[in-house]
Structures are given as C-alpha cells and as structure tokens.
C-alpha cells in the first residue's frame, strides 16, 4: 500500500514535470501528449466509478465521451459560422466559450446517461454489457448518417475554444486547464468513495442482494453512479475535441468504449489513480510500440490477454501483494 501511494505521487509528479520540461526545451509535443493522457484519464476515472467501484460493466462509455465531444464541436461550429443552433422555441446561438460549452456538455451528457442508465439498469449481467454497447453503437451510426456535422468525415473546429484571460491555443495553457479538471474529477471521486453513498455503491458491487435487504434502493444508487460516471466521460470528450480541434464518429466507436475500459483495467480497478496509470501506460505503449510497428495493437492485445489471464489486479496491483493473493 505504501509503495502504491508513493507510486501515485510519482505519477502526479510526472504529469506536472513532463510538460514543464516540454515548456523549457520547447518540445510542445510532450505537453500535448501529457494533455492527452490527462483527458483520457478523466474518462477512465468516470468509468472507474461505475465499473471499478460499483461493478457496472458499461461497454458503452463512448456514448458519453463522444457526445461530450460532439456537443463541443457543434456549439463551436455554429459559433464559427454564426448560424443559429436552434431557432425554436427561442433563438439559440453556438458558442466558443469553454465556460458555456462545459456546462452544456455536462448537462447533455448527464441527461443522456440518465436515459441510457434508466433503461440499461433494468437489466443486469450480460444484458447490461450488451445494451450499453448497443446504445453507444446507436449514437455512432447516427453520427455517421447525420450529414449536417460532417457525417463520417467528422467536424473540424479549426480554433480551440476560448477561456477568459488566457490563450488556449498555447499547449501549456490548455494542458493546465485539463490538469485542473483532472484534479476536480479526482477530488469528486475521492469524496464519493468515502461517503455513505460510496459505501452503498461499493457494497452493491460485492453483494447487491444484501444491500437491497438492508433497505437501500440499489437501482437509484446505481443510476446516480452511472450518471456521474457518464458525465465525467462526457467532460473528457469535450476536452478531447478541444485538444484535437476536431471530432469524428470514431469517438463514439465501440473501440473507444473498449479503450476507456482498458485504462481502468490496466491501471487496476477500484483504485483512485488506476485510470491515470492505465491511460499513461496506454499512451506510452502507443508511442513506443507505434514507432517500431504499425501493428502495435497486436501487441496491446497480447499484453492485455496476458494481464487478464495472469496479472489480474493491474499495474498498481503489482505493488499491493495482499490484494494480488486474494484473486
């Protein structure tokens, strides 16, 4: 446990030190890469709440990640073209202000996860996995066949959305914004898992029947966790669009759901910092293997299979012998 905590501090330290080096040695690529890790980690932290702590195997978090991304892209697109987003019931304009985009993305994703959760949580087990997957696919096909926002080609927003007083086009500034969001989501997760509510949803993962029998409305608990989880993934999606200044249906693809899941699993489930480690490891793997071979995902697949068959508790789990032995 102590080594794990030390490792966690190192991870945060690296997330701060690498971009600073990038700044000093004028290597903005490393700043962008760290930003990507941070954004993916936010999505992972969201999924970790549902998957790691509450046992809800959602294979459809791309729906929220992608929707957050598209909300951002669409608002910004309309601001750029100076077109109305809606003309009914009142005139609504697009926006390129992050302070407006974020709340809209958060609300839309919360609402979406409420609907998807409301329907999916009526089922459990394999049905839940497949239904969350199917809902995400539904949005994916919608995004492909809806021509207004680029369809299959995606949507470019050219200029990163703005934040008061700072220049978001500067990589370090945008990195810092994302870092703050990472801290906020980490803090919220930390508060949640240590609350009475957190106690309830962690108990549900282990023994839902018992939790029901002590008079806790497990459906409601799971729905709230699912909504918070989906909303965090949506926020990450919003930042991801700004990072790339581009959004395409691939953010809604089921591979995205799988990858978010991989961040959680690689780092170790139900560990606060797990998704950060997982996302970092994923990006490092992509960067290193990717330079040697085009087929780096072959090796990713192999590593994953070996991990699942033989090292089940993730990278952080390697430092925690006791939990390893339990499995």
């Amino acid at each position: 446990m102590i080594i794990e905590k030390l490792f966690n501090k190192w991870i945060l330290f690296l997330l701060i030190i690498i971009p600073i080096f990038g700044l000093i040695f004028e290597e903005p690529y490393y700043i962008t890469l760290t930003t990507k890790v941070i954004i993916l980690a936010i999505a992972g932290i969201g999924l970790n709440l549902a998957l790691g702590y509450c046992g809800l195997i959602s294979f459809g978090h791309a729906a929220f990640f992608g929707t957050g991304g598209y909300v951002t892209g669409i608002l910004s697109f309309h601001a750029l073209n100076e077109e109305l987003l809606f003309s009914w019931p009142i005139d609504i304009f697009g926006s390129s202000e992050m302070l407006i985009i974020w709340p809209v993305a958060i609300l839309v994703c919360a609402f979406l996860s409420l609907i998807i959760g409301f329907l999916s949580l009526r089922t459990s087990g394999v049905y839940f996995i497949m239904i969350t997957l199917a809902f995400a696919q539904m949005l994916y096909f919608f995004s492909i066949s809806w021509p207004t926002y680029g369809g299959e080609d995606g949507l470019s927003i050219y200029v990163r959305n703005s934040f008061p007083m700072v220049n978001t086009m500067d990589p370090f500034t945008f990195y810092f914004i994302c870092l703050v969001w990472l801290m906020i989501t980490l803090f919220i997760s930390f508060k949640l898992i240590n609350s009475a509510f957190g106690m309830a949803f962690q108990a549900i993962k282990q023994n839902e029947e018992r939790v029901k029998s002590v008079g806790i409305e497990t459906y409601k608990v799971k729905l709230i966790v699912f909504v918070i989880s989906g909303t965090m993934a949506g926020l990450a999606g919003s930042l991801y669009t700004d990072l790339n200044r581009f959004v395409s249906p691939s953010v809604l693809d089921w591979h995205t759901s799988g990858e978010i899941m991989i961040f959680v699993i690689l780092g170790g489930m139900a560990r606060l910092y797990g998704p950060i480690v997982g996302a970092a490891f994923f990006i490092i793997l992509e960067q290193t293997l990717g330079t040697y071979t085009e087929n780096w995902q072959f090796w990713l697949g192999l590593i994953l299979i070996l991990e699942i068959l033989y090292a089940r508790s993730g990278i952080l789990g390697l430092f925690d012998k006791k939990k390893n032995n339990e499995k």
Partner: protein
C-alpha cells in the same frame, strides 16, 4: 412498382437476417452452454472470409472456398478455445469481455499483418450469377436467394442437431444444468471445444457468404457482431429460437427502415430534411426496437427471467 421494391427489400432483409442468425446462433450457444460472452466472435467471421478468399484465389472454386471458410474458422476456433478461451469460462463477465476484446485486436492486427490492409475480393460462382424470376414480375438475385436457402437449411440442421442428436442432448443439458452433464459422464472440456468450434465455423461460413457480396477486409466482423448482440438481447440470451426470430426481425427492420423511412417521412416533412433525418433514424431503428422490447421484457423475447 412500390410493391416490387418492397418485396425485393423484404427479401434483402430476410437474407441479412439469415446471415445474422448464423452469427447469433453461435454466440447464443456459446453463452448458453459455457456462460461465455465472446466479443471475438466477429473475428471468426473475418477469418472465414479470408480463408475463403485465399482458397478461391488458389483454386478458383467458390465451393471449395466455402468449405475452407468452415474448416478454417473451426480450426481457429479450436486453437483459440484451447489456448485462451477455456481459461475464461470460470472468470466473471468483465474478464471475458476484456480478454475477447483483446483477442479482436490480436486477430485483426494479425490478419492485417499477414494479408495487408487492402480488401480482398471473392467472386460469386457463375451458376449463381444473375437474377431469377420468383413470382410474376419479381426478379431477385440468385446469389441472395441462395444465401437465404443456406440460412434456412442451416437453421433446420441446427434444430435437428439440438433436438435429435446426442451432441444436442448434451448441449441442452449443458444449458440447463452444468453439473448435470458432468454427472452424465460427458467430457466437458471436449464438449465445450466442439460447441465453440461449431459456433466459430457458422460465423466463418457467414463471413464467406457475405464476403462475396461485399469485400473481404479486416474489421468486417465488427458491425455484424454488434448486430448479433442486439439480436440475442432481443431474442433472449441462450435461446436458439430467440436468435432465429430476433435475426429475421432485426434484418428486416434494419433493411426496410433504411430504405423506406426517408420516403415515409417525405409525406410529413420537407424532402431534403426527410432524407437525412430518415436515414439517420433508419440506422437507429433496431436499437430503438431493442430498447422497446427491453422495456416490456428485460430478458428478451425468449429469455429466462
């Protein structure tokens, strides 16, 4: 005119449905007997298609290619079952999802490595080229009709296999009670390998059959895999009957929805909007269908609650 189009599209829907059935029958069997959720099932579809394209390229025979798709996918199924899958039966669904997702990455990239990124083509044999009149003015593609017939034949074959043969009895026993089959003195691990290979070969065959209409490429199994999931969720996981009815329902709904929804909407709204809205909603139709069925029956049409 509309009638002819309608019947033609209906047949297309049924053809699509029968191929979905070949995929979902394997998925639902594997889940029903071994309790395994297998995302890599689409990879066997791809492997079958590639085996077929390879053999067709070497021999020029479509029929040998079909045989190769069955055998190739079955062999791949046996190997993968023995090396990886059998270690997953006792794991929870999450491990199964992840490991089989990883398997997709492995197999897709492996195939891309070997065959390259360019799609291969498999041509329809001379005897099935062209069209055939089926009813008065209605003419239909011979090959698609052949696919429908194949699908129905295999469905009947599966029905006989499950209800009339010893293997079928064991499979049904496995679905109902896993302890019972070991009590019957059946070598479970062999049974599991056989069931897995059977599912894989059906997927491989449908990959080859579809590969001749579309192209044979990496990742071709993924869209149809997810549709197969929708099918078995609608039909009820573990039920072959559910898989059959679900497949036809999904195939027909999807095909008709995409074709006719835009036209239908033109009656109500401006044509230019109707086309884009119609095709978007058409692509979502089966998922809406699935949501509706789940609201009424959370464990699918023929699932055990």
């Amino acid at each position: 005119m509309t009638n002819i189009l309608f019947i033609e599209q209906l047949l297309n829907g049924i053809q699509f449905g029968t191929m979905l059935f070949l995929m979902s029958a394997g998925l639902t069997l594997i889940f029903g007997v071994m309790g395994l959720i297998n995302l890599a099932h689409g990879s066997f579809y791809m492997i079958g298609a590639f085996c077929a394209a390879l053999v067709a390229g070497l021999t020029g025979s479509f029929w040998l290619a079909l045989g190769a798709s069955l055998c190739g996918a079955a062999i791949a199924g046996v190997l993968i079952e023995i090396l990886i899958i059998r270690r997953l039966y006792r794991r929870d669904h999450l491990d199964q999802v992840l490991a089989t997702f990883a398997l997709i990455l492995l197999l897709s990239e492996g195939v891309r490595w070997y065959f390259g990124a360019f799609p291969l083509y498999l041509s329809i044999p001379e005897s099935l080229n062209g069209t055939i009149p089926i009813f008065e003015e209605i003419i239909y593609s011979k090959y698609r009709l052949f696919i429908i017939l194949m699908g129905f034949l295999i469905a009947i074959g599966l029905y006989i296999l499950i209800t009339k043969t010893r293997l079928g009895i064991r499979i049904r026993a496995g679905q109902n009670d896993r302890e019972m089959i070991s009590a019957l003195g059946v070598d479970i691990s062999k049974l599991y390998t056989v069931v897995f290979a059977l599912g894989a070969s059906l997927a491989g065959l449908s990959g080859a059959l579809i590969g001749a209409i579309q192209s044979v490429e990496v990742g071709m199994g993924e869209p149809i895999l997810i549709l197969a999931f929708v099918v078995i969720v609608i039909g009820g996981i573990g039920s072959i009957k559910g898989a059959f009815i679900g497949s036809i329902l999904v195939g027909v709904t999807d095909t008709l929805g995409r074709v006719f929804l835009p036209d239908l909407l033109k009656i109500f709204i401006e044509p230019s909007y109707a086309t884009s809205i119609g095709s978007s909603i058409g692509s979502m139709l089966i998922y809406i269908l699935m949501a509706l069925i789940l609201i009424i029956k959370p464990s699918g049409l023929f699932g055990k609650s």
